[in-house]
């Protein structure tokens, strides 16, 4: 083997080596060690800032125009709301809007203005619910059950409120009615500690949006409903890496 042949052999060897490296490189680069799966679809309900319900005050302020209210905090646009009716064709109020249905009921449609509305009790002292009010659920109070209409409503005018101390309030002023019993919560709410505040922490740069009691609590059943759990984090340990 002369020098030229040696040279050729060395160069050919290098060529084979490089070609091999090319193949190896492309296979690792293209063969793809793909760790990731497909990104999930957008879910606006994860990020909306609306409260869990709409209060009477909010609906009253809207003047019937609900376009400015965030109905889609709970309802999705592609799934329109389907109202439910009972066997007699009476609307079954949704749990979240119970007080709205209450407040929009026109008492005078059934009760004459001069008629005295009397509560009836059974032998055990429990209130007898008339069939027309069967769907109206009052569960105010976890233990004692503050479910007597006139504890909060004015007996003389059912669309107005009356505190235990006799002070009359409009439906839109319900916060002060709540405050008449729930002092510590009202104190905390006043200083921003209880309840929700949205918008700006810095008053110089913008206004904070302070929510009323009934923006979150249904006055007839103030316990917050159970909420949907959003998805947990990926289990890396179950995915094999």
């Amino acid at each position: 083997m002369n020098e030229n042949q040696k040279t050729s052999a060395v160069v050919t060897g290098l060529t084979v080596l490089f070609t091999g490296m090319v193949l190896a490189f492309w296979m690792t680069a293209r063969g793809g060690t793909v760790v990731a799966h497909k990104p999930s679809a957008p879910v606006p309900v994860f990020t909306n800032t609306a409260t869990v319900r709409l209060s009477v005050a909010e609906l009253t302020k809207s003047g019937g125009d609900v376009s400015g209210l965030d109905c889609y905090a709970c309802h999705t646009k592609d799934k329109p709301v389907a109202p439910k009716f009972d066997a007699a064709g009476v609307l079954i109020p949704s749990v979240a809007h119970r007080d709205v249905v209450f407040s929009r009921m026109n008492c005078a449609a059934c009760h004459a203005p001069e008629e005295k509305v009397e509560l009836k009790f059974d032998a055990e002292g429990k209130i007898i619910t008339p069939p027309a009010h069967a769907n109206d659920v009052a569960r105010h109070g976890r233990t004692i059950g503050n479910d007597h209409c006139f504890n909060c409503h004015d007996p003389a005018n059912l669309t107005e409120l009356r505190t235990a101390g006799g002070k009359k309030l409009k439906l839109t002023e319900s916060t002060m009615l709540c405050a008449s019993c729930h002092g510590p919560s009202y104190r905390d709410w006043e200083s921003g500690v209880h309840g929700r505040r949205n918008g700006f922490w810095n008053a110089k740069l913008g206004a904070a949006d302070r929510k009323d009691c009934t923006s979150c609590h249904d006055p007839h059943a103030p316990m917050l409903p159970l909420m949907k759990t959003l998805p947990p984090p990926d289990r890396a340990d179950l995915k094999g890496h």
Binding site: V193, R197, F200, L205, G206, L226, M227
Partner: protein
């Protein structure tokens, strides 16, 4: 002579005497194909996007950037985001406000564990959806216990809260004595005057020392190039905040710097349905957080490790 011909002299053709035309051509062809193969083997390097631009590589540390250089950096980020996600972002460099120190308070009595904060945070801060990066972990623990080792953050009951359990979200505590900052070998993370510990994503070398140092599991590492659907990008960005990150850098909760330094509440607080989350300026005696620290029973997580968190948990009735 033999020494001269052992390898072809590429720089100076024609070949030295003693080499035949045939062997020269053969050698030249072999060398040419070798070079071509090498060029081809290096070609994929050109497609590697995670190497970043030369501009990014040459960029100075955040604290040493002049206003002009900062403008250039912001312009580069705008270009990169536009190229990758097809929208023109609003990128700013927001500085701390005077007389402001941020504090977060979380009411464990109110938290129901719905995880809305987790997902709002991901949407607000442009975290990778795949592989998944989340700044907030919600631990579920039985009432009457406080063993975080046994806390479950993968619970998936259809509705919350579950009877007999309480929920405890954990995120960056923005410590006053932050161990993550101490261990950073390149000063890519530091504490700002308003108490937020930030990361310069262009300076981070991805050594993950800070992740190991953090006692709260607050820091996340981009193991892969982050994937975010184009339509889910939040265009309101800050340099030290939610601008898109690259593979190989650390990230963590920064109290939504792009919102809070503009006076707004952080995203996790905005969506919390129960009002369990409270945020504000501790130097303002009328702020919600000042009220809470004065009147409520607060505690910090892992007080004994001496990190002095700015994140307080509290109970009420």
């Amino acid at each position: 002579m033999a020494a001269n011909t052992s390898l072809p002299n590429l720089a100076a053709p024609p070949p030295p005497e003693g080499t035949s035309r045939r062997s020269f051509l053969r050698a030249s062809a072999a060398v040419a194909s070798g070079l071509a193969a090498m060029a081809a083997s290096l070609a994929p390097l050109r497609e590697l996007s995670d190497l970043g631009s030369v501009e990014e590589f040459l960029q100075n540390h955040y604290k040493e950037l002049t206003p002009v250089e900062m403008e250039q950096a912001l312009a580069r980020i705008r270009r990169e985001v536009e190229k990758q996600y097809g929208l023109r972002p609003h990128v700013r460099d927001l500085r701390p406000m005077d007389g402001v120190e941020f504090v977060y308070c979380l009411n464990l009595t109110r938290c129901i564990g719905c995880r809305k904060c987790v997902h709002a945070c991901v949407a607000e801060n442009n975290q990778s959806r795949s592989p998944e990066i989340q700044y907030i972990r919600v631990l579920k623990m039985p009432n009457g216990t406080f063993d975080m080792e046994k806390g479950d953050h993968h619970y998936a009951t259809p509705t919350v809260p579950e009877k007999g359990f309480f929920y405890m979200p954990v995120q960056c505590h923005q410590c006053k004595n932050p161990p993550c900052v101490k261990v950073c070998p390149v000063d890519a993370t530091w504490q700002e005057s308003d108490g937020i510990t930030v990361i310069d994503y262009d300076w981070c070398i991805g050594c993950r020392y800070c992740e190991a140092a953090c006692p709260y599991f607050a820091r996340r590492f981009n193991f892969a190039e982050p994937k975010i659907p184009k339509e889910q990008i939040n265009p309101d960005m800050a340099y030290l905040g939610n601008r898109p990150r690259h593979k190989g850098v650390m990230e963590k909760c920064h109290f939504c710097i792009q919102r809070t330094r503009a006076g707004k509440y952080p995203a996790c607080l905005e969506v919390c349905p129960t009002g369990a989350r409270k945020f504000g300026n501790i130097l303002d005696p009328a702020s919600e957080v000042s009220q809470i620290l004065r009147h409520k029973r607060v505690f910090v997580l892992k007080e004994e490790v001496g990190t002095l968190p700015r994140f307080f948990y509290y109970f009420d009735v």
